[in-house]
Amino acid sequence: MLIKSSPAIKESSVTDESVYLNRRQFMQGSLAAASLLAVPFSPFANAIEGDALKFVKTSYGKNDVPAPFEVITGYNNFYEFGTDKTDPKKYQGQLKTNPWNIRVTGMAEKTGSFHLEDILNQNPLEERIYRLRCVEAWSMVIPWVGFPLEKLLAQFKPQASAKYVAFETLEDAKQFPGQRSAFSSIPWPYQEGLRMDEAMNELSFMAVGLYGKSLYTQNGAPIRLVVPWKYGFKSIKSIVGIHFTDKQPATTWNRIAPSEYGFYANVNPQVDHPRWSQSSERRLPSGLFDVKRIKTEMFNGYAEQVAHLYQGMDLRRNY
């Protein structure tokens, strides 16, 4: 087991952290070499996932009951792997999540390509239990492990002129079967964005794990965004690009169907999706006859923390 628990690590955490990560990299490398001879679709190809993480617990969502692990890792919308909710788990082995780099561009002082390990070294991990509300009207409670987005962005020293931050998922048809599909209408790569004040909000979170373990690929490994007061599609997965800009960035679902998916995409029970109601949701997992249909709350119940961001805005128009 790769549990990082020795107190000796604390003495010079940076070095030890990288040694620790290199060890995983080494294991990954040797496993990858071995897997060249083995079946390429093996679910065990990604050795890096599922490692126990070191983190502190927080009070976020302490009253919510998380969905079972197998539900969170087996029922995903990650169209890069396919449109069926079981596709991401089925095909996750095709994506190589280590090594991983993030390209930072635009209106910031520190731009360039960064190794994920270097980013992780500077951010102690914490657990936050958040509700995830999908635009399809189902929801799940998920115990994420990660760090505030605010801290990550501060590392790159964004300029005052940067009003928005855009994110991008990896585009590689070799690793993502969904991106190879001739029957998809999605313009890859997947892109999302936040207004700078939204990104700097205390709730905005970068997740690298869940249930105390590093992220499984189907959940957006190795690093993903979590913005719990917005519909799930805003929480972009497997991020390779961060761009600071003064213009509202293009976002993927908004480009595909602007009348259905807005830039803001705040959870709002009063504004229906044109094709279905958003006033209530099905909390998963649900039984066959006891459908846990609950009323959807404004900002997914996080109004206290985020409502001030939208004061004076017409949320019917800015959906």
């Binding site: 087996g74 279905w276 109601s277 249909r293």
Partner: protein, 203 residues
């Protein structure tokens, strides 16, 4: 033998659902249909209805093109289509809406794709009821006219399906192409003598 196979084909999707419900209700495999079993059954029923509807249309075309001796199974598949479409609606009402009938009415009115689906289901009900032999005989030529509606049902069904998906158009493309081919065959089909009306028509 073929008779038995057709029966199996028509009933297999239903048996699978029953098997799954037994698994998740009595045998402890609570995620047999995933974390949203109602949604799974809903989609399964809808897909089965669509598949059976197109199988029905293909029998008609195959019958006209090659006079294959399978047209006697068409009625069974047609009624099967109605059975699964009705199951699809029931799954929606029971598993998704929790039998909240006001919500059901609201959804039917407010969601265009549900309205389209309901229209198709009402037409299917009409076709299923009039598939009784006595009614068929009594309706005579009007039966033929009435059952031409099945092509409208297919169009509505495909529209209902594509209107609610977010991405992934393989099945839609497949059914659309199939529908175009079947309609082309239907339109070009050779006219034959209609014993009821004393004039030429196409079955």
């Amino acid at each position: 033998m073929l008779n038995l196979l057709v029966w199996l084909g028509v009933l297999a999707p239903f048996f699978y659902i029953i098997y799954g419900i037994v698994q998740l209700t009595f045998l402890g495999n609570i995620f047999y249909f995933g974390p949203e079993p109602g949604q799974y059954i809903l989609e399964w029923m809808g897909q089965s209805a669509l598949a059976m509807l197109f199988a029905t249309l293909m029998i008609s075309s195959a019958h006209r093109l090659w006079a294959l001796p399978i047209v006697r199974y068409r009625r069974r598949l047609g009624v099967g289509t109605f059975f699964y479409a009705l199951g699809h609606l029931l799954a929606f009402a029971v598993f998704i809406l929790g039998l909240d009938l006001t919500l059901l009415v609201q959804e039917i009115i407010k969601r265009p794709y549900i309205l389209v689906g309901m229209t198709a289901l009402v037409l299917l009900a009409l076709l299923a009821v009039t598939s009784l032999h006595t009614l068929k005989r009594r309706l005579a030529y009007r039966w033929i006219q009435l059952h031409r509606l099945v092509y409208w049902v297919a169009g509505l069904g495909v529209l209902h399906y594509v209107w609610q998906i977010r991405d992934g158009y393989f099945l839609f493309d497949f059914y659309l192409l199939l529908l175009v081919l079947l309609l082309a065959e239907r339109v070009k089909a050779k006219k034959v003598f209609n014993p009821f009306a004393g004039r030429k028509t196409t079955y």
